[in-house]
Point group: C2
Chain length 379, copies 2
Amino acid sequence: MTNSAYISGVAMTRFGKQPERTIEQLGREALLKALKDAGIERRDVDEVFCGSLFGGTLIGQRILRDLGMTRIPVTNVENACSSSTTAMREACAAVAVGRAETVLVIGIDQLTRLGGGTIPLEKTDIEVNLGFMMPALYAMRARRYMHETGATSRHLAMVASKAHEAGALNPYAQFQNRVTPEEVLAARMIADPLTLQMCCPTGDGASAAVLTTQKRAAARGKPVRVAASVLQSGLYKTGFRDMASSELTQRTSKLAYESAGVGPEDVDLAEIHDAFTIAEMMYYEALGFCGKGGALGMVERGDTSLGGVKPVNPSGGLLCRGHPVGATGVAQICEAVWQLRGEAGKHQVEGAKVALTHCTGGGISGLDHGACAVHILMT
Amino acid sequence: MTNSAYISGVAMTRFGKQPERTIEQLGREALLKALKDAGIERRDVDEVFCGSLFGGTLIGQRILRDLGMTRIPVTNVENACSSSTTAMREACAAVAVGRAETVLVIGIDQLTRLGGGTIPLEKTDIEVNLGFMMPALYAMRARRYMHETGATSRHLAMVASKAHEAGALNPYAQFQNRVTPEEVLAARMIADPLTLQMCCPTGDGASAAVLTTQKRAAARGKPVRVAASVLQSGLYKTGFRDMASSELTQRTSKLAYESAGVGPEDVDLAEIHDAFTIAEMMYYEALGFCGKGGALGMVERGDTSLGGVKPVNPSGGLLCRGHPVGATGVAQICEAVWQLRGEAGKHQVEGAKVALTHCTGGGISGLDHGACAVHILMT
């Protein structure tokens, strides 16, 4: 596949609890700002994709209607936490195949009003129905990872502290306060060894991106190329072998590196799915940033902090920017684009030329995820 | 866009009330039969799209998991009644852009267990919240159409009777009984002038199609080409002007005819969205099968009956085959493929070479729909 899609505009709302607004209002805010960023009008949009888990039927059309953006193809996509990055992939295909010249992608969810912290799973999923929810699952994975690598609770706390350092610099982040590793360790226990700040919050928000052809994007000044857009599903293995690693993320990112013609060593910054701090550490390894157990050293040395050799989640990540499920994937794209343009403000990674985003979610029966999407963006 | 996608296999479950099964079981039945029809194995599928309104998160992955069909991209699509035809369109793009060689599309819903007859609409939709549900809306449109054209309740009853004539010949249909126009007129009134048999039923079912390249499809013997795959959204007009016509269906089908290089006169059979008998009559006109008011004559002459000059819904349509929302679009594709292959059995349209399918749904605030998809298939 020729990856000929370019990003000419991005925007997002601030993430956080916003029950006083409607979900459509959140979407319209992100949409209008993204069009402005791309320097285009509503009538210039040929097609729209909307990714959401809890938005309900025709969420895209409901956002567009009051803006008079009618009479165009609108497709709603659901893939749990990867809903809007899956929508991104379809938008890339629409541009690549010549079906549309300007495509808008929206990511959105509002957990204070719709859905909630628990994904509605099938009744036959015995493990989840017996209480094996996400925090419990990641707590068990953390314990296994600690057993295998010698990691301690302090490493998990340092990841949270790093996220807050970045989040404090991001005006769109749900949490903008700094916390020390000691404060993280002293916080309320959610699922041992995961304390409150080691788990991402729920919240509301929307994000949007404008995809277009190389020619049209060039007019924007700083076009960003989608060098890879890869989606994969998990093995759905049951049982608990290899629970301290992520085969799905490893496989998906490998395909993305091949598609973009780069390797993990070329990545200047990454936005990854740190729903729990242990997840971030496992993904360092799955994404090829280090070998098995290498995440400990990366955390200890501050490699993945802002200013480190391999900044991860300079936005604050899911832990601090927040995680309104469907909105997260395109919010990662927003951050990557701002970084590549040199417009990330106080959380800028200097000289960034290659950015990777990673979303994965929808756990069913244990360790695996239903949808993992990795994008690689380049200037 | 080069429409290079071909259909090499199709299948569906019988439609109807099947609360004793899980939705995943319904999906697996259609999926496995479609693979068999295409002459391929599970491992040959490169990518999957699943269209559903009420299926819930990761419905596609949940269907695939127990079949061991993992480690491939899976995308779930929602567009109300047009969910699985929207998924079809994305599958066509995936093949056309060279992202995948063999793509499986599933359409599914199970209204006896999940969701229901009423689409969950936003709380701000005042008209629907005051009782302006689909049957009420179509009853009003019917009254207006009768006023404008001179149509009578008998015409509406004749459309239902025609649907039952076809459904009686279709082993997959929810209703397989014949009814006379007199019986339709004497049935329980749902929303005057629409009686019970003038409204489609709710039910459960799944449908599946295998899309692939021309080369691979040719190996199947009777490949069917997707000559047009068009999606549009409505105007979302409020108020009640032009309520006896469908601008959205007219616009979408016009684009589809242009894409396929054919006109309404070339269509040998059509599967259209007859959620109510009045809708079928309006769509004859919107699809260009006749001019304004021409539907009366078509019904009176039996033009759209099996054996008529322009057979419409030889499957029995939504009225008789049934309407498990997300499953309907790909079920129309199944019928079109069987007709073009000459495999439709007792409801075969002899010598069919061009088939049109039309799905439209997701009414918000009155007359317009959120998503209309028209496909044109050719041998």
